[in-house]
Amino acid sequence: MKVLLVCAGGMSTSIIMKKMRDYARTNDIDDFEVQATGVGSFRDVIDAFDVVLLGPQISYRFDEIAGVAGSKKPVGVIAPTDYALGNCQAIFKQVESLLKGE
């Protein structure tokens, strides 16, 4: 699964990105790619990803980003506490349920 994390500048999501990579490694999750990007440049890279997760602070851009993603690519907003603490367990669960179409 290829996950795209989007926040304002790509900075705070890059913290989550590192945590997710570590989590995937320790939990033997193969076939996992993650990238963090800012809201100004997500259009350039979104095509390469299966699912898009937004930082809660840009939740107001959900409609716009979901529009660009299209109906085949799920977009979700990470919950504030999960985002703050980098709760990878919860975030991975969110990715899985988004990919399942829930």
């Binding site: 107001y60 504030p80 703050a84 603490l85």
Partner: protein
């Protein structure tokens, strides 16, 4: 309290979404911020010159004098030509949103910008006056970038483009379909140039400056800053990215101010603007919106385990200006205890910083450093004045005083609640 918060939130969300939907605003913001990469490089290339000013003489001075031309050449072609680059970036940013993006439209915007800001030099064949290529032409680049895309978009939707049959290779077809929009945009730019000079007696960049003067000057004032900071903090309080949303309005000005200051500095003149892009991020919002470093430290030292954990997770990002972990982790967001220190508190550092700079106590922002630097580093690189570093820590201290009582009150309540839960669990 919850009801008032609900009402405020319901009022703020549509505003935030409305600002985001103004694609022209967003394109200008994205384009200008993209251009800062070049402004930063150019500005940092003035460091040898700055060091020479500080040292004054001696062997190090002589050495710097020898390598300076190498750096000045870079500074000259970044900052002094920024109007051209901004026009390109703004155009492509808007074109992306209109789904007509491509290199041609970017170059088209540069051509338009050149027509609007480039003038021949009397008596020198082939020379072009570059006076308006730099910060003086930045507001023209906004126009160049936007009208290039808007006109092209209009022509495409109306079908006023040369369409070649499908059998023609795509590259050829694209260059033909670009012909009419390119000709139209350049024609309009040329017309503007001519009309400006004949009807208004001023070259277009100067005319634009005159027309925009009230708007340009009113942004670099304390009231404007207070409004910007207040809105930034209020938006964050509702979990929305304050700087990102408000930037649509103030970033183009702040970047233009910064560019002007750098150009003045390079020319040995006085910098005149306080509210630069760097001022906002390295002074007013150092360690994150609301200058939350002290709060993070309080959390790390707290008796409450959750606060300790969040504090530890938040400290390193905070040192680099990223405080989402605190805003969402403490949380500051929608937390009544934090409303006064976080939303209203930062207005005080804003006032202090403004007067510190305006009075000349601290040197003006003369450089544009890279973002996300540790507290004090950015401030020094921006002003070449150690007093700016002192100011940063004074401001952090002021916010520490604001956060402390509210944090302690919140901590007391949390600890009491946890204790009660413990006793209930024991009794159960």
């Amino acid at each position: 309290m919850a009801n008032a918060q609900d009402k405020l939130m319901k009022a703020l969300m549509p505003v935030a979404t409305w600002v985001e939907k103004r694609k022209h605003l967003q394109a200008v913001k994205d384009g200008m911020i993209g251009a800062t990469a070049f402004i930063i490089v150019g500005s940092m290339c003035l460091i040898p010159m700055a060091l020479m000013n500080l040292i004054g003489s001696g062997p190090v001075y002589d050495f710097l004098g020898r390598i300076n031309p190498f750096f000045l050449k870079i500074a000259g072609f970044t900052n002094d030509y920024i109007g051209l680059y901004a026009a390109y970036l703004i155009a492509r940013s808007l074109a992306k949103r209109d789904e007509i993006d491509g290199p041609i439209i970017g170059i088209n915007a540069v051509v338009v910008q050149l027509i609007l800001t480039g003038f021949s030099v009397d008596g020198v064949d082939g020379a072009v006056a570059t006076a308006y290529f730099g910060s003086q032409g930045l507001f023209v680049s906004i126009i160049s970038g936007l009208i290039t895309v808007d006109i092209t978009q209009l022509f495409i939707t109306r079908g006023w483009v040369i369409k070649l049959p499908d059998s023609v290779p795509e590259m050829v077809a694209n260059s033909f379909s670009a012909l009419i929009p390119v000709a139209a945009t350049c024609g309009i730019a040329s017309l503007i140039t001519v009309v400006s000079q004949s009807a208004a007696g001023q070259v277009f960049p100067a005319l634009l400056q005159t027309l925009l003067a009230p708007a340009i000057t009113s942004m670099d004032t304390l009231p404007a800053l207070l409004i910007v900071i207040f809105l930034t903090q209020l938006l964050w309080f509702f979990g929305l990215h304050g700087p990102s949303i408000t930037q649509a309005v103030w970033a183009p000005f702040a970047i233009a101010y910064a560019t002007e200051n750098v150009a003045a500095y390079a020319a040995g003149e006085a910098a005149t603007h306080v509210f630069t892009y760097g001022f906002y991020y390295n002074i007013l919002q150092v360690t994150g919106s609301g200058l939350t470093l002290a709060l993070v430290v309080f959390m790390m030292l707290s008796k409450c385990e959750t606060y300790k954990a969040v504090g530890r997770a938040a400290i390193v990002p905070s040192l680099f200006g990223i405080n989402e972990p605190v805003i969402f982790g403490l949380p500051i967001m929608l937390n009544p205890f934090m409303f006064v220190p976080f939303v209203l508190g930062p207005l005080v550092p804003t006032i202090i910083a403004w007067f510190a700079f305006k009075s000349g106590l601290v040197g003006m922002p003369v450089a544009v450093p890279p973002g996300f630097m540790p507290p004090g580093v950015g401030a020094f690189l921006m002003t070449y004045d150690w007093k700016a570093v002192v100011l940063v820590f004074v401001l952090l201290g002021v916010m520490a005083v604001f956060y402390y009582p509210f944090f302690k009150a919140m901590e007391r309540e949390t600890l009491a609640r946890e204790k009660q839960q413990e006793t209930e669990a024991h009794e159960a």
